[in-house]
């Protein structure tokens, strides 16, 4: 058995979570490594969750929100974008590879994009190896 | 049977040190070491930091004299950025610095050193301390605590923080003084001046007179001296001036802090983290031999009192004259550091008042415009424990790319080692030693207030 990473995906209720539902309805298949945590908006995502998840052994963290200018709450995804640029930089400060974090825009109509995002992330993290390897 | 006495920690000093006295088979002193135990690495971890932030980091080198590091650092960054503080900013900084000297001297003399004299070097360790002093001389103790507190709170109130200050800023000072503050500070400082004069009298009459024999002898060594003087008239300066390096024979050279590298060097021994500063310009090398030391000079109160031509304030000048008539110039006795310290206490109070009475002190123009840029700057001030040198190089973003720090105590590490050796080998003979004797060895260190 190879390394099966655990990836936490924070999904906006209005878009990515719906896209994930739709991927199911369309019976699209994707790696089983993602655990979705539903948020009302990608702007709800506190960067602390990313650090928490990684420190508790998540091998990767994704945030999936609505396309820019399509946020239900006006500009929540811009907040997520601003934060994620920063999170990527801080990951290095805290000793994680920045590749362990990913932000993707997925509309509720894009199950394929959702599937592609989680599949690529899984592949990327598998290449990267377990998160705990990095520490110490 | 040979053995080692480990006096650890050296107490009632600021810092982490241990004295190791190596006795030979006959119980006589073979060698002594003052091991400096701690290394934190400020020179390195300020690298990369924006230079204007550094004065707020390096003050943590010392919690007793944070103002000195804070301001030396500010001066260094000013110079690296090519900024000249406004006259009022400059004076406000000096006022804070000399005010910080006041507290430090009260602290050192009464809290740390006085128990040895008031309660006696041989008193039991459980009472030979400030707590014991409170019981022995409650009124004095109360007064001392009150005065120190007054000084600290004045600084705290005006400059936000007394410990690890923040009000000195690149280009000047963070806030102007308003008239109300000036009045309040003046009133407080006048009270402190009264106390300073009282303390000096108290020490001359009740301490130095009583312990003249010890003073003349304990840890006595013969060295050169380094201290800051006024560029014009050679009088005592603490915040800004040129440096004077004096040989034990009284001859001297004067130089600007910027050129320190041509005059002094640092020697490293494998048994202590602190480097030992010596006079490179004398071109005789470094040697701590008690009989014929090479390159050794001392800093701190005694050094400053020795190198200066005079003191610009009247009461301190009178005290200096009395001191010189008793002990000559340069005075070498180690325990005279205490005496010199109290003269500086009076000077500090007088100087603070002088600054507060300067008409421009309440001018709102306290900070000059600065632009971060590449450069190099050396900031020198006189800390209670000696000449403090901060030397920074900045990159084009105005961040520190290199730093060299020489803190007051390091100049005195070599002389302290010598004083310890001198004291130990004088006091310990044929395996006879006691707690009291060992405390006297420590007193030789304590005089330097490391």
């Amino acid at each position: 058995m190879g390394f099966e990473p655990k990836i936490i995906a924070f999904c906006c209720h209005w878009c990515a979570y719906a896209a994930a539902d739709l991927a199911g309805a369309a019976r699209m298949q994707y790696p089983h490594n993602v655990r979705i945590v539903r948020l009302m908006c990608s702007g709800m995502m506190h960067p602390e969750f990313v650090m928490d998840a990684l420190s508790q052994g998540a091998d990767g963290v994704m945030v999936l929100g609505c396309h820019l200018d399509e946020c239900r709450y006006r500009d929540g995804n811009y907040r997520a974008l601003d934060r994620s640029d920063m999170v990527v930089e801080l990951l290095e400060d805290f000793g994680y590879e920045p590749e362990r974090f990913n932000l993707t825009w997925v509309s509720s109509q894009e199950p394929d994009k959702f599937v592609k995002a989680v599949t690529e992330m899984t592949v990327r993290i598998k290449k990267l190896g377990p998160v705990n390897d990095v520490q110490g | 049977m040979a053995k080692v006495l480990n006096i650890a920690p050296v107490s009632r000093i600021e810092g982490h040190a241990k004295i190791a006295i190596h006795l030979d088979d006959n119980g006589n002193v073979e060698n002594t070491f003052l091991h400096i135990q701690s290394l934190r690495g400020f020179e390195k971890f300020i690298e990369g930091r924006p230079a204007e932030e550094v004065p707020r980091i390096v003050n943590r080198i010392c919690g007793i004299c944070p103002w000195m590091h804070h301001l030396a650092s500010n001066k260094a960054v000013d110079s690296a950025f090519g900024a000249t503080p406004t006259p009022t900013g400059h004076k406000l900084r000096e006022m804070c610095q000399v005010m910080a000297h006041i507290n430090d001297k009260i602290l050192h003399f009464f809290f740390l050193a006085a128990p040895d004299f008031v309660l006696g070097p041989d008193a039991d360790y459980s009472v030979r301390n400030i707590m014991g002093l409170v019981k022995a001389a409650p009124e004095l103790a109360k007064q001392v605590v009150k005065m120190r507190q007054l000084g600290q709170m004045m600084l705290d109130k005006f400059a936000g923080k007394a410990i690890h200050p923040v009000a000195g800023v690149v280009g000047g000072f963070a806030k102007p003084m308003v008239e109300e503050e000036r009045k309040e500070l003046l009133q407080g400082t006048r009270t402190l001046l009264d106390f300073g004069c009282y303390a000096l009298d108290f020490a001359i009459n009740n301490v130095f007179a009583k312990y003249m024999d010890i003073i003349g002898d304990l840890g006595a060594i013969k060295t050169g001296f380094l201290g800051m003087i006024d560029r014009e008239d050679g009088s005592l300066r603490l915040y800004d001036g040129q440096l004077r390096l004096m040989k034990s024979d009284g001859s001297f050279v004067d130089f600007e802090g910027d050129d320190y590298i041509d005059y002094i060097g640092e020697h490293v021994e494998p048994w202590g983290y602190s480097k030992m500063v010596y006079a490179k310009s004398w071109k005789e090398g470094f040697d701590m031999a008690l009989t014929a030391p090479k390159g050794i000079y001392r800093v701190n109160t005694l050094a400053r009192i020795n190198v200066c031509e005079k003191i610009s304030t009247p009461r301190a000048q009178a005290a200096l004259e009395a001191f010189r008539s008793s002990f000559g110039r340069p005075a070498q006795q180690t325990l005279l550091y205490h005496y010199a310290r109290l003269i500086e206490l009076v000077y500090s109070c007088e100087r603070t008042i002088e600054l507060l009475e300067w008409e421009g002190i309440t001018d709102p123009n306290v900070r000059a415009k600065v632009e971060p840029k590449a450069g190099r700057g050396v900031g020198v001030v006189e800390a209670p424990r000696g000449t403090l040198i901060h030397d920074y190089t900045t990159d084009e973003n105005g961040c520190i790319s290199g730093a060299n720090l020489i803190v007051g105590t390091t100049h005195n590490i070599a002389p302290m080692n010598m004083s310890v050796k001198r004291a130990a080998s004088t006091l310990i003979k044929d395996g006879v030693y006691s707690e009291g004797i060992l405390n006297q060895v420590e007193m030789a260190v304590r005089a330097y207030d490391p």
Binding site: W14, C15, A18, C66, R72, S107, S108, Q109 | -
Partner: protein, 60 residues
Amino acid sequence: MLITKKIGSVMIVGGGVTGIQAALDLADSGFFVYLVEKSGAIGGAMSQLDKIFPTNDCSM
């Protein structure tokens, strides 16, 4: 003149985005709404468009 009582219900013919909007507004203003759609589901032509249709929320 004959006064007849008005009925507090509306029929909306067409379940596209227009009909849905009219239905929502009327239902929200206190009228009973019949939304009549010819095909098997509401949504109209707009549901066929790829973009400009970020969420399906207008149809609930």
